[in-house]
Amino acid sequence: MLLIRCPYCGMDRPEIEFRHAGAAHITRPGPPDRVTDEEWAAFLYLRDNPKGRVAERWRHIHGCGRFFNAVRDTVTDVFVVTYKAGEPRPPESLAPEALTPEARP
């Protein structure tokens, strides 16, 4: 069972307290009458599925209840870093102390 750091609680908590909530940094386009069908279809359905690091939304549903973002490696299942909703995805060259122990070089 993985430990995941909730950026709001500031604690590593077991993964059973969390729920995955899809890709992160997907902006809801608007207003509706200015959005093309292609843009809306992309918002609804098109997601990247890369091998390696992905930014995802997670919710600390059985804890503080907050949604937050995480960079996770789909190959190793390592959580590289977690950060609050609304914050930009951290750069790849993060200082090691910002990373989870598993992700440190």
């Binding site: 918002f43 919710r59 440190r104």
Partner: protein, 975 residues
């Protein structure tokens, strides 16, 4: 002493004899014995039949690695566990053990005929033959006749037929250091780390006694160390506890045996406990496992590992035989030979696969003891059927071949191919391994990033040189090695020949060889076989062992019961059940319940239970439901709607949030007014509906469907937190705070009127779709004037803890008026007569508000709401969408089947495109005929058309009608 028990020594309690049976035969052992040691003390080596060839098998080892001695333990009362390793089963009074995979008996087993056909049962047998050879009558006959017979013939113990009567527990724990393994290295590590009283140390070991090999060699030292540890309050010792899985971030799963094996099973205490331990650091001190040597017929009972023989003698006081031969590739087997000789056994010879045995010290010792030592010698064959009776020796020539060189009679053969560090758990955590040429084994190199796991002692390769051997693979034999059966994987019956065959057939990757031959894939996970199979594949393909690579180690290290994983989550505790405050009343009054999500809801009420529910169930239900519907339409009905999801929204932006969330306009909703509201997903499809009630400028009471409550609440939370975090609004789930009693029917006002305080119930003051806060029967309530039946009615929201007395009072009154309770089935009929949809029944995740006739609910002027842009998608506005309509069969008494397809033509051939399907269908007491709701392509333009519903035996003609069957003007609603 009888049999093979030594006169003194060992850890057993000789003052405590213990009776047990094996295959019905009554025997004696001692407290402290394992089943294996007790059987050996009774001179029994033959304990099982092998998986595929049904070859007689004996006890190979003295620990968790045992591949052969698998038995079924029957503790009575359905407590039957198959495939337990006799080497780990603690003996207790009255223990009942049975051998497996034999018929009719262990000594004569019909299945052993497989051994004669073994040429056809080799590597890849299943892949090659289960396709169904033509010669045996083709695939059909094969599948019916031969395949089941073959599958039956192969196997281990039988799973018990009944439910497991035992209890299992689960516990989470945290510690600074978790030590896995209670041998010398583990105990020393635990002692050292626990000197700091702030350091919580846990230590687990699969055996009943801690000490590991020290229990053989230096038991007093083991006792001292365990005593010292037990005295420290910061130390938790877990004997009988197998760490079977190691996971990321120092997380370890441990299976602990709890029930005292010396006592009868106590129904109130669990049998096993699953520990899930998160440690600051894991120290793996799991020791090493001795490797068998691969020579012809090395699986005969009486042939066992040298270290096991020494364990049986020195720890359990058991001589494994009287006339013992030894075959070894390292020094450690000498210790066993010397100990057995001292205990009175005759060591006929020590055959050394090495040309120059070690440094010669042990060999010189043996010779001094009068034991012949034969260098560069192997075993090329054995005599005996159910037990070894002699060995045939072969001299190893420098070119790697062997020539016969005589033999010895022997009732026991000890073998030692060196020791393999137990790195399974380290490898499970994705730690890197390194091939150590000197040890002839893989050892831990570096833990995976972020893993604090350290390996200590023999598991780390810290072993005396005498335990090491580079002899991997099969030993030479005279002539073709494919003529003999030299077993590598005892449990899965894989021979050296199978592995060679697989490489000849082109398998190169060790992962493929493993799957094709099944080597290492049995329940023992190849603990004794992995390195020998690597050695054979390496030799056969001309590569080195590290070039071959290693197969993946997976949890569990040893088999774990299903009960351990299920824990308490069985039966009633498998899934929580939600009951409303009126549940017990409903039960007393004949309710038949249905499951809706995790809720129990009254489906219908059978005031007088039929004598035989199976015989008259359907008719009785029909009668009850029709009566319930009549009561609502003609008098008054009570319905427990407490399961509805309820969310309270508070804050200055509450109206703004709901305006953006639901399709309906909300900001203009007056205080004290309600609105039926539809919720979409962003694709534009209906996912929920409910009532939005405005209690104050900044306070709303919103209902959701019963099944959608948690999902909708979570979705709103998502939008609040991440999409519109600027909105000042707070949502709270109040589903369980409010119980809801729906009072529906023409007499509804009469039965509540004199109970209500502070609310004017007149139509003018309190019209349809209004909400008021006040008191009822002295209790606070939120009173809704709403209806899901089409009748005049209320939904009384009352704090759940106060609901039952009110319900009881209303039920009494309803009965006086000729009314009564109704269940969800009647509710479904009543709402369908009015054409009210149920989300999930009329909708299926592809329906828009317009599709179900709710287009007028959409707030067209709103700049945005969830799903607004979705509704503009071309396919959602294109003609030909399925629309909600009513259907009445031309034979009006017919009730259609829900889910039935609808086609235009009565003679439509199979495969005809369906126009739609029936979503709801009932018999209606109010209408006097059957009716249905359906979704049909362009349905609203088909009113009056006759369509057809093809069924299995007939096609039913139906007429398309408006979906509102009763009171389309809504006169009844408004009273």
């Amino acid at each position: 002493m009888t049999g093979f028990r030594s006169p003194a020594g060992g850890r057993i309690d000789r003052s405590k004899p213990v009776r047990f049976t094996f295959d019905g035969r009554q025997m004696h052992g001692h407290a402290g014995d394992t089943l294996a040691s007790a059987l050996l003390a009774n001179g029994i080596h033959l304990v099982g039949r092998s998986f595929k060839y049904h070859r007689p098998r004996g006890i190979l080892s003295a620990g968790a690695e045992e591949p052969n001695a698998l038995v079924t333990i029957d503790r009575g009362g359905g407590r039957e566990t198959p495939n337990l390793r006799a080497t780990q089963v603690e003996l207790h009074e009255g223990l009942v053990a049975r051998s497996q995979n034999r018929f009719p008996g262990l000594r004569f087993d019909i299945g052993s005929i497989n051994n004669a056909f073994s040429r056809f049962l080799g590597a890849g047998f299943y892949y090659k033959t289960f396709m169904g050879p033509r010669a045996l009558g083709g695939a059909k006959l094969w599948a019916r006749l031969f395949e089941p017979a073959i599958r039956r013939a192969a196997g281990l113990g039988k799973a018990p037929a009944g439910p497991d009567p035992d209890r299992y527990a689960n516990r989470f724990a945290h510690c600074e250091v978790l030590v896995i393994g209670g041998g010398e290295a583990g105990l020393a590590e635990a002692l050292r780390r626990s000197e700091d009283p702030a350091c919580r140390v846990m230590l687990c070991d699969e055996q009943a006694e801690l000490g590991g090999w020290m229990l053989v060699e230096a038991p007093e030292r083991a006792d001292e160390m365990v005593e010292a540890l037990a005295a420290r309050p910061n130390v938790t010792l877990l004997p009988r506890s197998q760490a079977f899985g190691a996971y990321a971030q120092n997380f370890v799963a441990i299976a602990q045996q709890l029930a005292d094996p010396l006592a009868l099973p106590d129904p109130d205490s669990p049998r096993e406990r699953l520990w899930q331990v998160r440690a600051g650091e894991v120290v793996l001190a799991s020791g090493a496992i001795e490797r068998p040597l691969v020579f012809p017929d090395n699986d005969l009972p009486g042939i066992l590992l040298a270290g096991a023989a020494e364990t049986y003698l020195r720890r359990y006081g058991v001589l494994v035989g009287r006339k013992i031969a030894v075959l070894t590739a390292c020094d450690s087997a000498y210790g066993a030979a010397f100990a057995l000789q001292d205990a009175g056994a005759e060591i006929v010879a020590i055959a050394e696969t090495r040309a120059a045995p070690g440094a010669g010290e042990m060999a010189a010792c043996a010779i001094a003891r009068g034991i012949p030592v034969l260098p560069a010698t192997t075993i090329i064959g054995t005599t005996g059927h159910l037990r070894v009776s002699g060995i045939l020796l072969g001299r190893l020539r420098p070119d790697g071949t062997a020539e016969p060189s005589g033999g010895f009679p022997a009732d026991t053969v000890l073998m030692s191919g060196g020791w393999t560090p137990s790195i399974h758990l380290f490898s499970q955590t994705k730690g890197k391994l390194r091939w150590d040429e000197a040890l002839g084994a893989y050892v831990p190199a570096a833990p995976a990033p972020g893993q604090a796991i350290r390996v200590s002692g023999a598991a780390a390769g810290e072993m005396p040189a005498g335990m090491c051997s580079r002899a991997l693979g099969a030993l030479p034999v005279p002539g073709s090695p494919d003529r003999v059966k030299a077993f590598v994987d005892f449990q899965n019956d894989v021979t050296a020949r199978d592995l060679r065959l697989a490489t000849r057939e082109g398998f190169r990757s060790i992962e493929h060889v493993k799957r094709y031959t099944t080597t290492g894939m049995a329940t023992d996970q190849g603990k004794t076989s992995n390195l020998n199979s690597l050695g054979i594949v390496a030799a056969e393909t001309g590569r080195s062992v590290p070039e071959i690579g290693l197969t993946t180690f997976r949890a569990p290290y040893t088999p774990v019961t299903f009960g351990l994983f299920a824990g308490q989550a069985r039966g009633d505790l498998f899934d929580p059940v939600r009951r409303t405050p009126m549940h017990d009343w409903a039960e007393r009054n004949g309710a038949v319940f249905e499951d809706v999500g995790s809720w129990k809801r009254a489906h219908y009420f059978l005031p007088r239970r039929p004598v035989d529910p199976a015989a008259s169930g359907h008719a009785a239900m029909h009668e009850a439901v029709q009566a319930e519907c009549r009561k609502v339409r003609e008098a008054v009905g009570l319905f427990d709607a407490s399961t509805l999801g309820k969310i309270e929204f508070v804050g200055p932006d509450a109206a703004e949030f709901l305006e953006r969330a639901y399709v309906n306009p909300v900001k203009g909703l007056g205080i004290g007014r309600c609105r039926y509201a539809v919720l979409l997903n962003e694709a534009g499809f209906i996912i929920d509906d409910g009532i939005i009630a405005r209690l104050a400028e900044d306070r709303f009471h919103v209902t959701t469907t019963t099944g959608g409550a948690a999902r909708v609440f979570g979705m709103f939370e998502d939008y609040l937190q991440t999409e519109w975090p600027e909105l000042k609004v707070w949502q709270t789930s109040v589903t369980e705070h409010w119980a809801v009693i729906a009072v529906q029917g023409p007499r509804a006002r009469e039965i509540i009127a004199d109970l209500v305080e502070g609310i004017d119930l007149s139509d003018a003051a309190f019209p349809h779709m209004a909400v008021r806060e006040g008191r009822i029967a002295g209790m606070p309530c939120r009173l809704f004037r709403v209806s899901f039946t089409g009748e005049f009615g209320y939904e009384i929201n009352i704090p759940a803890g106060l609901a039952l007395p009110l319900w009881e009072k209303l039920a009494e009154r309803a009965a006086e008026f000729g009314g009564g309770p109704y269940g969800t089935e009647a509710m479904h009929i009543l709402r369908a007569e009015k054409g009210y949809i149920i989300v999930g029944q009329e909708t299926d995740g592809t329906m828009t508000p317009d599709d179900v006739g709710l287009g007028k609910a959409i707030g067209r002027k709103k700049p945005d709401f969830i799903g607004k842009r979705g509704l503009m998608r071309p396919d959602l506005v294109a003609p030909g969408r399925k629309q909600l309509v009513g259907l009445v069969a031309e034979d009006r008494s017919r009730v259609l089947e829900e889910g039935a397809q609808i086609v235009p033509d009565s003679l439509a051939p199979a495969g005809t495109h369906a126009l739609g399907h029936v979503t709801s269908a009932y018999a209606s007491a109010a209408l006097g005929h059957g009716f249905a709701l359906a979704v049909v392509e362009d349905g609203r333009s088909r009113l009056g058309q006759v369509l057809h519903v093809p069924m299995e035996r007939e096609t039913i003609a139906v007429r398309v009608v408006e979906p509102v069957f009763l009171d389309p003007e809504g006169k009844r609603l408004h009273g």
